[in-house]
């Protein structure tokens, strides 16, 4: 046995590198944790003036008017909920269909991999291009519809935003759904078929009840995803800072108001109010994400 003091210079170098290596790894890891804590702390501190200034009125008030210093998030909370819930309602039948079609009906093969490729393409299109396409194609179409049905022909508005948002969340929702459905044990499906049931009856009575919890948390996760979506929504929602009266009204979501006004906000309290809305966004998406993934994890491990 050699003592530490008798280490050759080469050995000592190795020791140093060894320690350095593990310290760097540890440092980077701590950095990641510190970054997240820093993000949370920064937003909280920066939102504090807003809490002090507006208090509960931020949530109970009805208007957002920087000129008259009325700051309430209500119009945007309503706008966000209306847009995302509508988008989910439109997209769920499609996501569920794709999930069942490619996760249950089809054997893995050329068709399923084509569907997967197309879904990946859909997921890979940037938000700003969805928004651009929405502005130039969907907005005029919705305007025609509004003219036809005797509404004010804005074209832009909650309905248009929800339509585009629904296309954007399908890839996400469908891939969760497919994973959840693929987890239904095949011996249960076989037991159903062996009793003389048709595939539809197996879906209706075995697959759906079994995967209910997983599918519901998939919907929840898609909801969390949709809330944070910014660019496409900002481009087609019409940017009106009032509580919308109908789904065809122009409005703003929490993320679109930040996108529109943050760079122009000069008054510190105005900035703080916008950050306060960022905090709402951060907390809701984080809570939904953590909760939804916990449910899926717990469900898929039994």
């Amino acid at each position: 046995m050699r003592k530490t003091s008798q280490l050759s210079p080469e050995d000592r170098n190795i020791r140093i590198y060894e320690t350095l290596f593990s310290w760097i790894l540890k440092f980077f890891s701590v950095l990641v944790v510190a970054t997240l804590v820093g993000i949370l702390a920064t937003i909280l501190i920066q939102a504090l003036p807003s809490f002090r200034d507006a208090g509960i009125n931020f949530y109970t008030g009805k208007s957002w008017d920087p000129v008259f210093k009325h700051f309430s998030a209500t119009p945007f909370v309503v706008g966000t909920l209306a847009t995302t819930v509508l988008a989910l309602l439109i997209s769920i039948p499609f996501s569920l269909s794709i999930a069942l079609f490619s996760g249950f009906y089809l054997h893995p093969g050329r068709i399923t991999s084509t569907i997967r490729l197309l879904i990946d393409l859909l997921a890979g299109i940037p938000s700003v291009i969805y928004g651009f396409w929405g502005l130039s194609i969907v907005v005029p179409a919705v305007r025609q519809f509004e003219l036809f049905s005797g509404r004010v022909p804005y074209g832009v508005g909650i309905f248009t935003a929800a339509l585009i948002l629904s296309i954007m969340i399908v890839p996400y929702a469908a891939s969760i759904g497919r994973d959840v459905i693929a987890l239904v044990p095949s011996d249960l499906k076989e037991a159903g078929l062996a009793l003389g049931a048709t595939p539809y009856e197996v879906v209706r009575w075995i697959v759906m009840p079994y995967s209910k919890a997983g599918l519901l948390s998939g919907i929840l996760l898609s909801f969390g995803r949709a809330i944070g979506e910014t660019m496409a929504v900002t481009m087609v929602i019409g940017n009106a800072n009032k509580i919308p009266g109908s789904i065809f009204d122009p409005a703003n979501t929490i993320s679109s108001i930040i996108a529109n006004e943050f760079a122009e906000a000069t008054d510190p309290i105005y900035v703080s109010h916008l950050i306060h809305m960022g905090l709402i966004l951060f907390i809701t998406t984080t809570a939904i994400g953590l909760f939804g993934r916990r449910v899926i994890k717990k469900w898929s491990s039994h």
């Binding site: 044990p185 037991a191 078929l193 062996a194 009793l195």
Partner: protein, 252 residues
């Protein structure tokens, strides 16, 4: 009386380029227990899956030959109808976890969209559970989910579920391979009683089990039907050397 209940002729199955079943022909006997015996990978599970067309779930499986059920070719029938006549119990107990014990037993009716009156349902559930020897153990917990049942009880629940459809043939795919000896004994007794009312075809790799309960035994090796005859004869004076070898090696 030996009704022509099920006749397999010239059945071959291949998956991709592998031949799983190689030109098998055999008749089954009315209200008897036939076991299909053989080393693992010999194609015995594929064989019984062909009988209720469950092999169609395997991609790229090709089948030739015919299987006649009461003189009707099952490959010309709708699989749904075939499976109503031929029930199946799987290797691992697979009760539906989202349904109560009661609903599990009548699951076949529910899945097939058959509406029953509640008295009729109660009757079917009780009869099937009695036939499966489970009634006395679960009659007070019918509306609970089956998760608390032991493996053997779950398997008997699956048998009850298959029996509820009043099949004429019951296929058992190594029904005791996932069970402890005591539960295995239960299932064996149960199967022996069931032959009063239903024709049973059982796959097993347990030679003692085959000799204990079956009337006829078929020995499969590498997809080929080596020998088929009464259990007594096959176990005492096997005709084929391969059978003899398998029986002696596995018994010893």
């Amino acid at each position: 009386m030996n009704k022509q209940i099920l006749e397999i002729s010239n059945l071959s199955v291949s998956i991709g380029n592998d031949t799983i079943i190689d030109n098998i022909s055999m008749d089954f006997h009315w209200k008897k227990i036939t076991t299909i015996l053989g080393p693992s990978g010999c194609g015995k599970t594929t064989l019984i899956r062909c009988i209720n067309r469950m092999h169609e779930l395997i991609p790229h499986a090709r089948v030739s030959g015919s299987i006649l059920l009461f003189k009707k070719n099952i490959y010309e029938m709708n699989p749904i109808l075939v499976r109503r006549e031929i029930g199946m119990v799987f290797q691992r107990p697979n009760p539906f976890p989202t349904m109560s014990i009661y609903d599990n037993v009548i699951a076949g009716y529910k899945l097939n969209g058959i509406k029953l009156g509640s008295a009729e349902k109660d009757n079917i559930v009780e009869t099937s559970l009695c036939r499966a020897g489970l009634w006395s153990e679960v009659k007070d917990a019918l509306h609970r989910r089956g998760a608390f049942l032991s493996g053997g009880q779950q398997q008997r629940l699956c048998i009850a579920r298959a029996l509820a459809m009043k099949p004429r043939i019951l296929l058992l795919d190594e029904p005791t391979s996932a069970l402890d000896p005591k539960s295995t004994g239960h299932i064996e007794d149960l199967v022996s009683e069931l032959k009063e009312s239903v024709t049973i075809i059982m796959v097993t790799h347990n030679i003692r089990q085959a000799s204990r309960i079956s009337d006829f035994t078929a020995f499969l090796s590498k997809g080929e039907l080596v020998e088929y005859g009464s259990t007594e004869k096959l176990f005492t004076v096997p005709e084929d050397k391969r059978t003899e070898e398998y029986l002696s090696r596995s018994a010893g």
